[in-house]
Amino acid sequence: MKICVTSIGNNLEAQVDQRFGRCLFFIIVDSETMQFKAIQNMAANNRGGAGVSSAQLILDEGVEVLITGNVGPNALGALQNSNIKIVTGASGNVKEAVERYLSGKGW
């Protein structure tokens, strides 16, 4: 399963970024192998449209679960019609966030 965690750094030890649209990195983790790739969010400093841009990115990446702090109104509107499961209120580092989600605990 492809899980995307928004993060302030480019690795599994980095903290979860509380913002979705303007997060610094998207860490896309394969939950079976815990292999990951980090994508820098080029829209983080855009004047507008960051939420939609980030939604487009994770849609294109084929992400199935999004773990983040909070999702803004535009991004939420963009993701509502998709099949991506949105998990908000996450904290800790990326690895912990994925493990916590997989264990079914949530936040």
Partner: protein, 280 residues
């Protein structure tokens, strides 16, 4: 002739100057345009009844799902991220759309047409010799420029036009001052007033609009505004003191030239000086 009034910094007295100038020119018809469409206030000072002149709409794309082949070309084209395309759906975000129409052009199967989306309105009112038109952006709508453009479309050649610009130095300000014969820069001798004045001077120099400065609250702050104007040969057209009485009348919606009619002469002189600088 079109005279715009701008400032960079907000709250320096653009509306004070626009309204006072309009009320002081008694022998000409004046068209006063309030382009500060995020918070227009000129109409508070000109005693007239105001009616709706027109609504302002921008075109936003509409996708015919039956024709869409989900190639994502529209979403890739849109620089404002107003379109999100997944493998199965296309979602439009009207508030992010600038109405350029590019998505409809790049769509290979002509699945996109446009519908009108209301973002604001123009209001209109007049006194014996002043006609006021102001734009008003709807709450939560982010696009000021199309409304400013529509306000300025009301300019007719036969009257003196005074354009009250929004604060700042970004797109809405450029749209407001664009095409004017002269720009009055209202500033105050504070660090922010001075800093933003230098930015506006840069803007106007680049778009080639002659300008002069009005220093409001002139006994505040320091000498930097004067030194700057002197070094750049920028004419100081008028100074207005930092006076409680001006603020009190303004807060009641009474323009200073109504409360203190002796100021009318000074604003008449300001107008004369602008005409002299332009050889008109």
């Amino acid at each position: 002739m079109v005279i715009s009034v701008a400032s960079g910094k907000g709250g320096t007295g653009k509306t004070l100057v626009s309204v006072s100038l309009a009320l002081s020119i008694e022998d000409e018809h004046v068209l006063l345009l309030d382009c500060d469409v995020e918070e227009p206030n000129t109409h508070i000072f000109i005693k007239a009844g105001f009616d709706l002149l027109k609504t302002v709409n921008v075109p936003v794309p509409r996708v015919n799902e039956a024709l869409c082949v989900h190639c994502k070309k529209c979403a890739e084209f849109c620089k404002y991220k107003a379109i999100l395309a997944s493998k199965t759906t296309v979602t439009i975000f009207p508030d992010l759309c600038h109405g350029c129409g590019g998505c409809a052009i790049v769509c290979p199967v002509h699945a996109i047409d446009e519908e009108m989306h209301r973002i604001g309105r123009l209001m209109h009112g007049s006194t014996a010799n002043i006609e006021v038109i102001y734009g008003e952006l709807e709450i939560s709508k982010p696009l000021a420029v199309p409304i400013i453009r529509e306000v300025k479309r009301q300019i007719s050649n036969d009257s003196l036009v005074i354009v009250d610009s929004p604060p700042g130095t970004s797109c809405p300000v450029i749209e407001a001052v664009k095409g004017s014969d002269f720009c009055v820069l209202v500033t105050e001798p504070t660090p922010f007033g001075f800093h933003d004045l230098t930015m506006m001077v840069e803007v106007l120099t680049q778009i080639n609009i002659p300008f002069g400065v009005v220093i409001n609250r002139a006994d505040l702050g320091d000498e930097r505004v004067w030194d700057f104007c002197k070094s750049k040969n920028i004419p100081i057209l008028l100074t207005v003191p930092y006076e409680r009485r001006i603020a009190v009348s303004y807060s009641k919606g009474v323009p200073m030239v109504v409360d203190m009619p002796e100021w009318k002469e000074k604003f008449k002189d300001l107008y004369k000086e602008i005409k002299r600088l332009l050889n008109k």
